[in-house]
Symmetry: D3
Subunit: 282 residues, 6 copies
């Protein structure tokens, strides 16, 4: 499957924001010690097994600091890198490379961290499973576009982008409407015809109500394995099924084999650790 | 020790950026299902043991979505909350509360995650130790101010803010100057007199060179316990000592007892997981 | 049906941008001639039959110019106003009212123009028709959020917000994939599970192919009335049907009676004229 | 007459704002279906008679989406295009062309719409008339610079840019000063010496007062043809004369032949429809 | 004469930009030493004779840092303050007052510096002279609106705001057109009818040419006193006369008595020193 | 000593802001009179003795207005230029050169003014003195990065960048803590370990207290020559010594010979006049 690239404008906005934060007032150490005529070549190398994400952002950091720097890609976003594998080379003046290094790594380590965590869940799916691993809206404030891209690099899929792009009815929406059926009906009347209507359910009774009201997607929230299997039977193909809550690596095969369409996992964005990608100077 | 607050302007910038990402095009579900005249009160509650951080940001999210919402604080940033403890109440119209909920939680969960991870390291220090736990520049792009604040909430200290605010000489700077002494001398001539000159050293030989050249701070990079103790003797109070690299919870007492002044840990910002803080609707 | 409000942040961004354009350097005429202590009350009045839209934006212009100005609403967005009807009153210092007047009217006249044009199409639907009138992406650059809101004020519905929020396969996408079926299959594999897959078709053959490939929505592009009726039979409820192209007021009842789900009309945003809403000074 | 170009920075600001609105989160359809190695050439073609405006903006949209795209101009802004005439060619990767197509057309169709509507009024002027057709401040919020440029493309002229760049005294200013003469005197004392003082008049009595007070420009507001001719005699060359209000195509020759210097028309910006300019894929 | 106020939005933009520069990362000294419950009252006092300018900006700095701070004005912009005179009081928490103090003073000292320098030139005008002292476009980049306002506070007038708001033909424009007459004719055909056409002349011959071509304003560039008087006779009231270049305090009465309409002086903005306005803590 | 360059992003931000202020709405004079095909070469020339600063900003103005313009540098920032010396040449189309000329000069004249004023103080230091001339936070709002750079061009050094980057305890901080010692202790506990702690002292008693409390830097505020010499003896090398207040050119050798480490002077930024650098057209 091909990977939808990050828009150029999105990359530029993110890179400029990060460089304003770290470099806009100068780099007193580098300018004191590294003359402009010193050239260098550096290697971006995996120091653990990881799924790469963020190479275009990494590159844009350096070319924004100094348009004469060149980044030579040796791998592509979405590739699995073994420890020691080379992701890219950076060539040019040592002074601006040193100025951009930390910001470039901050992006690549975090984005690859999200991709790697996603890929671990994807790898736990049984062979041939149709089940998707998706993200949620539990992303880092200001970095949603980058993290959604990183999820795709890890083989995952995206859920709705923001509060406007699809309907997801939760318990408080249901309560305000006086019931699942009313909430679904109102949402369908309100939402663009291009958007499916998804409804979160906590019990089998709510599931029945959602199915009867014609929900396009039901989100089974915190169902245990046994109830989940029972729920899938009840659905019987009448709706797309999303599972959310208490998803562990161990449960993924069980959930997938129950025939669930998608498993949404907040942790792939809100709790991914940075992976160890380093810049080696040669 | 009192806690330096986040500047109002910084909070506003972050909150507006995050809301533009999630809400600027509307919330199709909430507007379909929750009339404007439904009132609600919600409770922000710890669902695990955590150190709170980000309450002013959490509050600003709601008041930016709707200035009539009120957030009643029941705890303060820096407080340790036990599971079930209440951090704050949110009162007002259910519709805008639902619109801001996810963004408000994204901030509070992440910032409290950084504070909690920091606090765990701080708690590992021996009683009465003068040693500081500090952050690094390995922060989330665009969120540095918030993460540095969260580190302080957790009892940690901040390292230099950006590349301009202090000198930190690393191996590539040394290489470009032809030696530690030259690098320190150039940096001292270059840097504001308000900034100390810090030099990273990898070996005892480099340490000797840095001390001889009058480094104000030496950063011992990836020293094992034995070498570390030997290094502290060599320093003999002539410089502030920072330790970095391979810092585990178990090593912290050892490092601290060796008399080290500060331990900088990238992981408290680059790999903190979001803690479980939830909004309960009553 | 209730009307989803414009987010406060969106209103503020639009109003500040417009005022920067017109007022940021001052108003030489008003400051020369109107002392700050002159008070005024003005009436926003319809000078033709119109559907009101943009009152919160109109209000925000004045309160941004001077927070002491008060706007008293006498009608609500979505209301039909007959000629002479009062939409709102503006009270306060004449000097800042004069400074904001043109920008406030520019917003209200245009947004009400879109709402009024939309309402004319909606009014042409047969009683009880399920058919929606929707907008397109043919909106004024930079004003999409306001125009989508205005369409809702006029009783219309929104289509997808942007290129990321839903799938709409057009002829060039089909051509690149080698066929309708392949395009639909790839899009389904790619898109969030919350998004329906819509496919534009120009011929009955393409319609058959799209239905066979399981398109959720088919867009019948430039179908004449007879072919449209034939197409609806062929669909037989298997997909949502959208009609686009050459939609005139006269054709709307015919299209609606054929059972079409939605009619998308670029002209309601790209070619609406400003309606005559004026500010009378009393 | 040569045409003042749009500043590069203005084009960039507008294009980036529009692309952030439509494309910043990606194009799920195009990325699913159109591989990056598919090349295309497209033709921007007039589908009705029109005056072209916005070609540099159209071009900047594509090169902002992807700097490798090339736009080959076959016409220039200000040219009259007959139906079928080619304005430009777009060459390069089909994927980014599809992503930018709608935004590029939204700009070109609207700007050409303003130019075309302006040109229709200009064409109604008698041969050799010195009368100008000018815009007003009734422009689309946020797009004033583009619309003023489009007016020039259509052969029109610009009125003052914003509230600071010239004096235009209206009835409320007069009322606050207690008379036309006082208002003109204060404005002259206040305004930069580079700015003329213009005064709107509704009656012959006000016209006399304005002329006596030395107004540089008088704006005859809603004067009928007979009164207009009478007013021109009264002016007798003592002031520049602008006519505004109830200007129809039919009245333009009459107004021009009366010797009026300029006719300002809000409708050329506030109520121009988008013209039919399309992108044909070959 | 009343003083046109700075637009609120302009004040806010300037204040936020300045605070982002100085305070956005916190104030480590103040937060370490000054608890939030310490209250203070400070006095903004003139320490030399000066013309006050910038009080609304001074106030906005403090209320942006902390909305609970109160600034009590004891003087108004444009007032002459003797040494020791009080301009304003600041009341509230000492901590945020200390954080905003430097930025608030930076604005007030600079703006009052421009006003004071302007006022010195204005004071040199003979009693009853109609001559204006005006600014130029030689303003500090990014601060033009504030500096133009400060000029008005000092009793000066503004020249054109930017390159679009009026015509000023200089020698290079003349050279490109092949002569003064051609340049004036083209400019008049091009510029809005609300703008006067000004032409710089270096010699009596050019002056004659400009007058013959109907220039509305002639700028006599670097004319000595004798030639100036001769030039005024030549003009004979046919044009507004501006003098520029080599303007000293001593020459101002001579120039004014020659009947010149306006004297433009770059130095009032490009070379004003900050005046001594201090914040006394009580 | 090498000169730390301005970051590219900082230059771009400043240049775009300034051009938006002056040129964003076009240049009516130049577009009326100078066709696009007229080429020109201009010379940036010193018209008085000056220290050059701002050449990269000067260049960026022209290339932002028109990327085809070329600036050929004939001198470097930090160079002393004698009257008549050439700093740079500008080649390309006359039209965009005229549009950028004023903004480019505004930057170069002001920045060189700061550099020149700084250099005059530096030149007053005795040969071989270790004393630094430094700036303060009394910079033009919004231009701090440029002015700090200009100070370096003049041979000066920078003080702390903003309120977060170093500790500087003043009298109000001391008062709130109840004494110099307490203030220093709290600041040291609070500040990053990379920052020195500086304390302003007004009397010998305060100096003793600050030294006893271990201040890293003492700022002697408004000390006369005799007391200054006495103070230096008291310090005896225990702290870095900064002198501030009432610093005249005549006093600089005396202060330096007393062994002071640095002299901070607000006037080099807050009261530098623009130097005479002009663009000659050939």
């Amino acid at each position: 499957m091909n990977l939808a690239p990050l828009p150029e404008l999105t990359i530029r906005d993110q890179v400029e924001r990060a460089l304003r934060e770290d470099l806009a007032r100068g780099d007193v150490t580098t300018d004191a010690t590294v003359p402009m005529d010193v050239e260098a070549s550096c290697v971006l190398r995996a120091r653990e097994r990881l799924v790469l994400s963020g190479l275009p952002v990494f590159e844009a950091v350096f070319t924004t600091v100094d348009p004469t720097l060149r980044v030579e890609r040796r791998a592509a976003d979405g590739d699995v890198l073994e420890p020691g594998a080379i992701a890219a080379l950076v060539h040019g003046r040592a002074n601006p490379i040193l100025k951009g290094e930390r910001v470039a790594l901050n992006f690549a380590q975090r984005m690859s961290g999200v991709a790697t965590k996603t890929a671990a869940l994807v790898a736990a799916l049984p062979a041939g499973a149709k089940t998707r691993i998706t993200d949620t809206r539990k992303t880092t404030p200001g970095l949603r576009a980058l993290e959604r891209y990183a999820v795709r690099c890890g083989g995952g899929h995206n859920h709705r982008d923001d509060l406007s792009s699809a309907v997801l009815i939760k318990d408080n929406h249901v309560a305000a409407c006086g019931g699942v059926a009313a909430a679904i009906e109102r949402a369908r009347a309100f939402a663009p015809h291009t958007s499916r209507v998804e409804c979160e359910v906590d019990t089998m009774a709510q599931l029945d109500e959602a199915l009867a009201a014609g929900a396009d997607i039901v989100m089974l929230d915190n169902f245990d394995d046994a109830t989940l299997i029972q729920a899938m039977e009840r659905v019987g193909g009448r709706a797309i099924v999303e599972v959310s809550g208490n998803v562990t690596l161990a449960r993924i095969p069980i959930i997938a084999e129950a025939g669930v369409d998608c498993i949404s996992v907040g942790g792939i964005t809100h709790s991914a650790r940075a992976v160890d990608l380093g810049l080696d100077w040669t």
